[in-house]
């Protein structure tokens, strides 16, 4: 692995010296996500730097190299009855751990368990000057130095080339039960929020097409008791349903229209926007399939008014900025931070914002 690491360092050092941009890529499963970057940028393939570095189930920590297949990480945890609790989407078998962290995407369990960034304990990375830096660590609690590790989650590879990541892992719940009940969107939003405010073992929620689907996870006794309290009809293959939501293979996501991701205040009422809606995260995540190119400004404005932001998750032909515009002060801080981590602007430039 040292040889590969040396190659990475040489590649980044050369790109830094010559100011030639790199595009960092793993399995390419999230290539669709983020702003398009010119194909002329040299590809740095992270996959050769792979492998589990350390894993001790009773410490609840796994450390792996960024090029490790996400599936391998998951299979190893699975053998020990543990999981990545943020339930990351793969979007393809070849997904890597590094891509998972860089994209910062979390799945159905997010509202109950936390996001990718909540589980990041430490990272080792190469800066844009090819410096080999380590932040955070392999322990649950660590407040020494600024939290650079979590800053990497969702930065789309613009702040550093991830080398190793340490994550907190959690035991898998003994029992899952998926229930569904018919209701309209406004009622579903209210019910999801109300239930989230009660001590119930709800691990995922999804509303689409007049149907609310919820997943209960935990000890059998607790799941059964919650089923009695909440009612609803049991869904036979709950696991397949949640996988179809997480991996976006569900019918809702098959539309060729641009797909928007609106992260908003969970209790926000149904939003009057054109297109079809699928709701997750107790109301906090709203997918909008919308082919109206005129609606872009309305979508951004509505998301902001609802306390959040809108991302053009799948462009599907729509040519507009992917991520929600930042205000002037926030953009200044972003640009300065980028400059500190990557002074020559060689790491995935433009992938997150065209400005850097």
């Amino acid at each position: 692995m040292q040889v590969i690491l040396d190659q990475f360092k040489a590649t980044v050092a050369k790109a830094y010296a010559q100011k030639t941009p790199l595009q960092i890529g793993g399995g390419g499963t999230k290539h669709f996500y983020g702003n398009a970057v010119p194909q002329t940028h040299m590809l740095l393939d992270t996959r050769p730097y792979h492998g589990i570095v350390a894993y001790e189930p009773t410490e609840l920590v796994i450390t792996a190299r960024a090029g490790t297949q996400l599936a391998d990480v998951q299979a190893l945890l699975d053998r020990h009855g543990q999981m990545l609790a943020f339930e990351p989407p793969f979007f393809g078998e070849s997904a890597t751990l590094g891509g998972c962290i860089a994209a910062g995407l979390s799945g159905p369990r997010r509202a109950a368990a936390g996001a990718v960034r909540d589980f990041v304990l430490g990272v080792r990375l190469l800066s844009g000057k090819a410096e080999d830096l380590s932040f955070g660590g392999q322990v649950m609690k660590n407040v020494a130095g600024f939290d650079v590790s979590r800053l990497m989650a969702g930065a789309m590879g613009t702040l550093g080339l991830l080398l190793e990541i340490s994550l907190k892992v959690l035991p898998k719940p003994p029992v899952d039960l998926t229930l569904r009940m018919a209701m309209d969107q406004a009622s579903a939003i209210e019910v999801m929020n109300r239930w989230a405010g009660r001590p119930l073992p709800i691990s995922a929620t999804c509303f689409t097409d007049g149907m609310l689907t919820i997943r209960l996870s935990g000890a059998e006794s607790a799941v059964k008791a919650a089923h009695v309290k909440l009612g609803g009809e049991e869904l036979d293959d709950g696991a397949a349903f949640w996988q179809s939501i997480r991996e976006q293979t569900h019918d809702f996501f098959q539309s060729p229209q641009p797909l928007w991701r609106l992260a908003v205040k969970s209790a926000n009422a149904p939003m009057s926007l054109p297109g079809n809606v699928l709701i997750e995260w107790q109301g906090g995540l709203r997918w909008l399939s919308c082919d109206d190119p005129e609606a872009v400004e309305r979508i951004r404005k509505s998301a902001k008014e609802a306390g959040g932001h809108a991302t053009l998750f799948r462009r599907n032909g729509l040519a507009t900025a992917v991520f929600h515009p930042l205000d002037g002060n926030m953009m200044r801080i972003h640009r300065v931070l980028k400059e500190k981590f990557d002074p020559a602007g060689i790491l995935n430039p433009g992938r997150l914002y065209p400005e850097f």
Partner: protein, 484 residues
């Protein structure tokens, strides 16, 4: 800038009672919870709203005056230690709970609101704010954000960083940053994570939106005593290995058990080398199941005595001893010095042995309390500040403990922050490259270094002079620095 002209300028926009400059008025602000470090500032200001904060920042920025922010002053690392040539800004007057949204389960509060006050305000809705540092009755949410505070329930419910959603922040140059959102994520870099635990170095938090979660239906506690620390450590690993994430998992060593028992008479087992407190909370059915499993694991792990709380009063009395560990230390010794290392749990027995060895070497007793679930160790070094040289010995002993934490793969601070106290150990934990990056991040927000200068991140010069250098993968640090 002179005190007089600073006061004159401050009084143009602050009422007289919000500007303190007489020595006797400054005295209460000379230290935080770490009283070994004391310093009077030039001036103390007590703003009442964001507008006043902005004007104070503007004045400090214009006159290049250092500014240290302070919440309730309960911090244990000297993070709120004033600057001799600077302004100390207490945010204690900003204590308004702006809004509680029971349906969305959020509370928007000013930075001076006490941690516990949030949970009290949320209680009528069946909700609470999860992080519960031991000082929660007094500490402020702004301080919690600055330190990324934890508490006894953080293995299950997370630290401050996991439980806040949005911050309003003013930079020293007066830029307003709205970081995070009412949504579960936000656009761009995760500045919410960067700001949390930044020890007042990057900006001043003027408003915090926190996440509220349901109050568990039931909580129950198992207390198990062991005749061997290693067995107790194994019991912790066995509980977690069985797929249980306890709501709280605390350990006390023998000297702590004796000290608190003498103080409280909580009925702790005086024959034990270690006592574990393991709490389960959640839905009633789940707690019953989990407690039975925890009980069985404690038995299999060789516990010599196991009790399970049968009533809420009993649960609280089991906890009382653990919560009294610090006051008990204060009773058995004139002074104590609280450390805050985190280690991979598997090294617990070795580290405790190492502490015992150091304790004999320095001739100072040390009590150990441990957030066992997440590996966060709080050795309490007992000393007498009136004995010449004892404080220095205690500090050196503490430094050695932290270095041992680093050696076993841990960290010098789990939840108390670096502040002034652990600045030297930062040189051991990090290399030049990381420290330079920390300085670069600081400069991105505060190019002139006016906010809380000299804290949290040591200068490379300081590390080089200390000679406490971290040689990582055979590389030597600071090759570009002159040696003296």
């Amino acid at each position: 800038m002179s005190v007089q002209s600073l006061v004159t300028r401050l009084r143009t926009f602050l009422p007289p009672e919000s500007v303190l400059f007489e020595a006797e008025d400054l005295r209460p602000y000379e230290c935080d919870g770490l009283s070994a470090y004391r310093q009077l500032p030039l001036v103390v200001v007590l703003p009442r709203n964001e507008d006043q904060i902005a004007q104070i920042l503007a004045l400090c920025h214009e006159t290049q005056t250092p500014l240290v922010a302070r919440g309730a002053g309960t911090g244990l690392s000297g993070g709120a230690l004033p600057h001799a040539q600077g302004v100390l800004m207490s945010l204690g007057k900003l204590k308004q709970i702006i809004e509680i949204d029971p349906l969305a389960r959020t509370a928007c509060v000013q930075p001076g609101v006490r941690n516990l006050a949030i949970s009290e305000a949320a209680k009528p809705y069946g909700l609470h704010y999860a992080p519960d540092p031991s000082s929660q009755i007094a500490c402020s949410i702004g301080g919690n954000v600055a330190e990324n505070s934890g508490g006894v329930h953080c293995l299950k419910y997370g630290l401050t960083v996991h439980n806040i959603m949005k911050l309003r922040v003013l930079t020293i140059a007066g830029e307003l940053l709205e970081i995070g959102g009412e949504s579960l994520d936000s656009a761009g870099f995760d500045l919410l994570a960067l700001m949390t635990g930044s020890e007042g170095m990057l900006g001043i938090v003027t408003e915090v939106t926190v996440k509220l979660i349901p109050i568990p239906e039931k909580a129950q506690l198992v207390m198990a005593s062991f005749d061997d620390v290693q067995k107790a450590g194994n019991a912790v690993a066995n509980v977690i290995g069985a797929g249980i994430i306890p709501a709280g998992m605390e350990m006390m060593d023998k000297i702590t058990i004796h000290a608190v028992e003498e103080f409280l008479h909580a009925g702790y087992d005086l024959n034990a080398e270690a006592i574990l407190l393991c709490e389960s909370d959640g839905a009633a059915e789940e707690v019953v199941d989990e407690i039975a499993r925890i009980h069985a694991i404690m038995q299999q792990s060789g516990a010599i005595n196991i009790s399970t709380s049968q009533t809420e009063a009993e649960r609280l009395s089991f906890w009382a001893g653990r919560k009294a560990a610090f006051p008990a230390a204060g009773r058995v010794s004139p002074d104590y010095y609280c450390m805050d290392g985190t280690i991979p749990r598997k090294h617990l027995a070795d580290v405790l042995q190492g502490i015992e060895y150091l304790s004999q070497q320095y001739g100072l007793r040390c009590m150990n309390v441990f957030h066992a679930g997440d590996g966060n160790l709080h050795p309490l070094i007992l000393y007498d500040a009136n004995q010449p040289g004892e404080l220095e010995k205690a500090e050196e002993f503490g430094g050695k403990i932290l270095e041992m934490c680093i050696r076993v793969g841990g960290t010098i601070t789990g939840e108390h922050g670096v502040g002034m106290e652990k600045i030297n150990q930062m040189c051991t934990q990090f290399r030049t490259g990381e420290l330079e990056m920390f300085h670069a991040i600081k400069a991105a927000f505060d190019p002139q270094g006016l906010l809380n200068p000299g804290k949290a991140v040591p200068t490379l010069h300081r590390c080089a002079e200390l000679g406490a250098m971290h040689v990582h993968r055979g590389e030597e640090k600071f090759t570009d620095l002159p040696r003296f």
